[in-house]
């Protein structure tokens, strides 16, 4: 029982990451009809916004410490962040410690700008081109983006820890009456889950309750008619692209303490996010979110050693197996609309 509760928690957390990435993708892919292979790269750029901010915060000048020596026996050069000079050592360290949450604010304008530039500069010329061309151009873009990041940040993962205040984990089990230490969950992952819920809710509310959202939804359903009504749907789609990029980027920022970011993390998530979107059903936002959580939870269950013992290798294939079963029983995924990307 406790094991099952634990894996449901894990699944919700994994699922919230999947849902968040898939949400951004389905805004572009499921609604604008653009097969965006660069979506993973957006996620990755978001993560590197956090890295960049913590690099900015730790920008340092060096002072030579004659007492100690470096590996070659020369006097050690100690790096002192400018922020220490600015705010003093304690307050400065506090700010550096909070780099990841601060990056959320830092990432939003950057990601929106990246999204808008991408759409205006490249994607808009590809709306009417075949999907094959979209795949090639966005895949090329994804490679270029990740190689640029690799050029500046290297290939090694870069540790970006969560603030000290979120270290450690909460003992859920004790609250539910189980033995202590049986169901524990890290604070940061709880934060991540809450953050996803807020973002997902925000995007839905935005589309559901604002005039802008209404027009966009109408545009998704029938772009031509909306255009004929004299509404500039293109501009709104650009904004949607910006929002999608921001959602992907924020997912990346908040993910950095869970996985140290590296330049190919986008590609690692790319295939998975496509699977999630398609399993959820093309053109359906709730579908993508639902599929994200479903796959997250099933993946967590499949990683239990009791289950691996019965079916070896199930943890390797569970997501794909579930995707196949769902697509065979439900032709358009969980909640897909007819006619979207079906030919």
């Amino acid at each position: 029982m406790d094991a099952i509760i634990l894996q449901i928690l894990n699944g919700l957390d994994k699922g919230s990451a999947y849902a968040l990435i898939a949400l951004g993708l389905t805004l572009i892919f499921g609604t604008l009809g653009v097969v965006n292979f660069a979506h993973g790269a957006l996620f990755m750029i978001g993560a590197f916004c956090a890295v960049t901010l913590s690099r900015i915060l730790t920008l340092s000048h060096t002072i030579v410490d004659p007492e100690r020596t470096d590996f070659l026996g020369n006097p050690l050069k100690v790096e002192v962040p400018y922020i220490h000079d600015l705010l003093g050592a304690t307050a400065g360290d506090k700010v550096i410690d909070w780099a990841v949450p601060l990056s959320v604010l830092f990432a939003i304008p950057i990601m929106i700008a990246v999204g808008v530039i991408m759409e205006r500069g490249l994607i808009k010329y590809f709306y009417k081109r075949p999907h094959a061309d979209q795949i090639l151009v966005t895949f090329g873009l994804a490679i270029v983006l990740q190689e640029v990041i690799k050029y500046f940040y290297g290939a090694n993962p870069i540790p970006t820890p969560a603030p000290e205040a979120f270290k450690g984990s909460l003992d859920f089990g004790a609250a539910l009456g189980f033995d202590p230490n049986v169901i524990i969950y890290p604070y940061w992952r709880i934060v991540y889950f809450g953050f996803s819920v807020v973002i997902i809710g925000g995007v839905f509310a935005f589309l559901q309750f604002t005039t802008f959202g209404m027009v966009v939804r109408a545009g998704m359903a029938d772009r031509e008619t909306v255009g004929l009504l004299g509404i500039n749907i293109d501009r709104r789609f650009t904004i949607m692209f910006g929002i999608a990029a921001a959602v992907a980027g924020l997912a990346g920022v908040m993910y950095t303490p869970i996985n140290s970011p590296n330049y190919h993390m986008g590609m690692d998530f790319l295939v998975l996010s496509f699977v999630v979107v398609v399993v959820g059903g093309m053109g359906s936002l709730p579908g993508a979110v639902l599929a994200g959580f479903l796959l997250g939870i099933l993946e967590s269950f499949a990683s239990m050693r009791e289950i691996i013992a019965i079916i070896p290798g199930i943890n390797q294939v569970i997501i794909y197996l579930v995707a196949i079963l769902i697509l065979l029983t439900r032709p358009r995924g969980l909640m897909g609309r007819q006619g979207v990307m079906e030919d």
Partner: protein
């Protein structure tokens, strides 16, 4: 001729000339010159060109004709290679049974996967094929290690049975793949002045298989069956309304293209007897898709060009290092030399991915029909220029 129209026959001739003369075409620079870095006429890369060409031609039979985008095609390549290596381990080092089995086994896999996946269309079909391929990759890498060799790949060993051949050579080594005793790695060099051209038996074996597969592909493209597949692409619904069941046609196309991939896998193992699981990963499938789109979807020769393009960058650009750059620019003054190296450095060696990504974007932006369109544009431009000079000539003439 060969039951082909004139233009198809010319295309066939072109492909034949390109493949058979490849050792010359791909080695344009003298062996000792600085530009020799760009020579691609060594056996391994030439073999890869034609093998991936076969793979892409086969993929195009499915994608180019029916519009069904399989994102898991590399799985058949992997299955084919595993089948071939197992034949080398169990039966003999003769490549024929290995290739026959790899085609058969991958055809079988294609039949099962195609039968299931073709129940859906569009993106749903793509994801189904992707899911099957990823499952096969993940299992081959881990749980199925006893059958597939896992991480290290399936390899030959000195104690393999090889019931119709020898387990070891008299010298105590593992025998190499051959065609009735003629080893695939056998090659000779032709030295012409400063140039060296290598003729490799394995390469010509692959080239002949490519020609045969290319011929078969042309025949399929021009057959009533091919017409039916094109009809599926343009409007499957209408086809269904006319009371026609399109499924058998698409399934046949899927299986044929899977068998092409298996053939490529078998050839790959015959040239280099090792089968690794990475061959089935989604990135490998994606590469096939990219090759086809890059070359030109639905064209006959496009995929072959696309395959050559990608493999060329992977194998040639990744090997250029700063040392080589310094050699190239050694004639420049030091400052400028270092500057040039600094500028080019990000695009070569470990940066070959960046160059490839940029080229993908440039090609698709400026040549919507892929490399084939580039070729056509180039040809048209030459024609125009030819006409211009002709007209200008005729204008000049009266003045004389």
């Amino acid at each position: 001729m060969l039951k082909l129209t004139k233009s198809d026959f010319n295309l066939m001739l072109l492909v034949a000339a390109l493949t058979l003369l490849a050792p010359f075409i791909l080695n344009p620079f003298p062996t000792d010159s600085a530009m020799a870095q760009f020579n691609a006429g060594y056996p391994d890369l030439m073999q890869r060109f034609v093998i991936f060409g076969i793979l892409a031609v086969g993929f195009n039979i499915l994608f180019g004709l029916t519009g069904y985008l399989s994102f898991g095609h590399a799985a058949f390549l992997g299955v084919g290679s595993y089948a071939a290596v197992w034949m080398f381990k169990l039966l003999s080092m003769n490549v024929l049974p290995a290739i026959v089995l790899s085609v058969a086994i991958s055809g079988l896999f294609a039949l099962v996967i195609g039968y299931i996946s073709l129940r859906r269309s569009g993106i749903y079909f793509s994801i189904l094929t992707l899911a099957f391929a990823q499952m096969m990759f993940a299992l081959a890498y881990s749980v199925l290690t006893p059958i597939t060799g896992g991480e290290t790949g399936l390899q030959l060993a000195l104690d393999d049975p090889r019931i119709f051949g020898a387990s070891q050579t008299p010298g105590g080594n593992i025998p190499v793949p051959s065609l009735f005793g003629l080893e695939m790695r056998e090659s000779f060099d032709l030295v012409l002045g400063a140039w060296v051209f290598t003729f490799n038996f394995g390469y010509y074996f692959c080239a002949l298989v490519l020609l045969a597969s290319f011929y078969l592909a042309i025949r399929i493209f021009r057959s009533p069956f091919g017409l039916m597949l094109r009809a599926v692409k343009s409007n499957q619904q209408r086809m269904n309304y006319t009371g026609l069941n399109t499924r058998p046609y698409t399934l046949a196309a899927f299986v044929i293209s899977g068998m092409y991939a298996g053939l490529a896998g078998g050839l790959m193992a015959s040239m280099d007897p090792l089968a690794g699981a990475e061959r089935m990963q989604w990135t490998a499938s994606g590469e096939i898709v990219l090759m086809t789109i890059l070359g030109g979807v639905g064209t006959l020769i496009g995929p072959v060009l696309g395959a050559g393009f990608i493999k060329y960058f992977e194998n040639i650009f990744s090997k250029i290092n700063d040392n080589v750059l310094h050699e190239w620019f050694a004639f420049l003054p030091d400052g400028i030399e270092n500057f040039m190296v600094f500028i080019i450095h990000p695009f070569i060696g470990k940066g070959w991915h960046l160059t490839l990504g940029l080229l993908f974007m440039l090609v698709v932006i400026y040549l919507p029909g892929g490399l084939v369109e580039g070729g056509q544009k180039l040809a048209a431009w030459f024609q125009k220029r030819g006409q211009k000079t002709e007209t200008s000539k005729s204008k000049i003439e009266p003045a004389e």
